[in-house]
Symmetry: C2
Subunit: 203 residues, 2 copies
DNA sequence: GCGATGAAGTTACTATTGTCAACATATGTT
DNA sequence: AACATATGTTGACAATAGTAACTTCATCGC
């Protein structure tokens, strides 16, 4: 790496465009950015992207996939080390999930948008499930130790994912608490309530 | 109504455009429909809409508001009559919520989209809360009768809305169950799990 | 070495779009 | 009857996604 600045063939434009697109995604207009502006920032002509992506939708789909991977990494990184209870692990990872969304609102929205789905439905679903795999494991383990109620694992997984998804989006939209001040607290409370629905009755 | 076919001033173009736009919203491209196509279908010139809406975003925002109202109506209509328990009422309205979303996916997405939010943030939040008011009442009542755990009402409301929102969106995206076949069952189970998190311990 | 082959970029063009400004026509108020 | 206003229309503009045809360059068989 660290080649001379001006190559005539840029080296790795595909990567560069994805990177710049990811930056632009974080800005105000979400993924309504223009392919031409993207090319401008990457320092190439406005049709260069077509050598790497069939169309804009494909580019967006790629970003969404990357987003799913980052979510997976974020969840794994948030898992607390050894002496933590399963409950603590679950809570911490749930918080990380919500934080990932609120920290990258446009990316998160894109990951579940109809636009991205249209261009990468299958792969997106796979990568999404891969991201959630850690939580699924945790649920399985929790049923084993008696921490969680016995139920079909996919039922609890569905409930958990849906809950996290909803908390994340409503928080992003400023719709969660009665006001923005208490929205963090509302999110935290919502997570507790989810857990109470998943956990076995206290002995 | 039922005027002669060709008026020079159309009568109520604003309403007509909202109606046609609502139809187009249900089609494949969501709210990516073009203002010109909308005008074409309404039988007017491509700039007629600007006499009624400042720009496309405003039109979309209006649709989103209408959507919130329809959601409110759908929830109210789903409330079961007299001899139903609070639990039954809550469940039935929850199902209605999810059904509303899956029956009008693009409208539902629009209602929570960044696009609509940008043009009607305040009013959208109000109308959304109005739609949910029935559920809030139910929660308050449920705390009173001892059906629900005692907690800040807004905490349970947040958890409930988030959960419904998540179930609705994931179902729409075909991400809920392990496969599409069991997605209905997954949604139903998720609702049960939510309730178990809200309800007081059985005596 | 070396020439051809194809990948990576560019320039020029098309069809479409949102929006604006200037104009036209109906409506209703006085 | 005449004017002011709301409602529509025509025609333009700048910007966009995408195509086609051309150029440049790097690599691989020889």
């Amino acid at each position: 790496m660290n080649d001379e600045p001006k190559r005539y063939h840029h080296g790795d434009l595909r990567r560069a465009m994805l990177d710049t697109a990811m930056e632009m995604l974080a800005e105000d207009n979400g993924w309504q950015f223009t392919l031409r502006e993207l090319a401008r920032r990457a320092g190439v002509s406005h049709t260069a992207s077509y050598k790497h992506f069939p169309d804009k939708a494909a580019l967006l789909a790629e970003l969404a996939l990357i987003g799913m991977d980052r979510l997976r990494v974020a969840l794994l990184a948030a898992r607390p080390p050894a002496p933590a209870t399963l409950r603590e692990q679950f809570l911490e990872m749930s918080r990380a999930y919500v934080r990932f969304g609120t920290a990258n609102p446009n990316l998160y929205r894109l990951m579940f948008s109809a636009d991205a789905r249209a261009a990468a439905s299958l792969r997106l679903k796979e990568r999404g499930e891969a991201a959630l795999a850690v939580l699924v494991e945790l649920i399985e383990e929790g049923q084993g130790t008696g921490w969680l109620r016995r139920r079909e694992v996919y039922e609890q997984t569905s409930a958990g994912w849906a809950h996290l998804h909803g908390v994340t989006l409503l928080t992003m939209d400023g719709l969660l608490g009665p006001d923005t001040v208490r929205s963090d607290h509302a999110a935290e409370a919502a997570l507790q309530i989810l857990l109470e629905g998943l956990e076995a009755e206290k002995s």
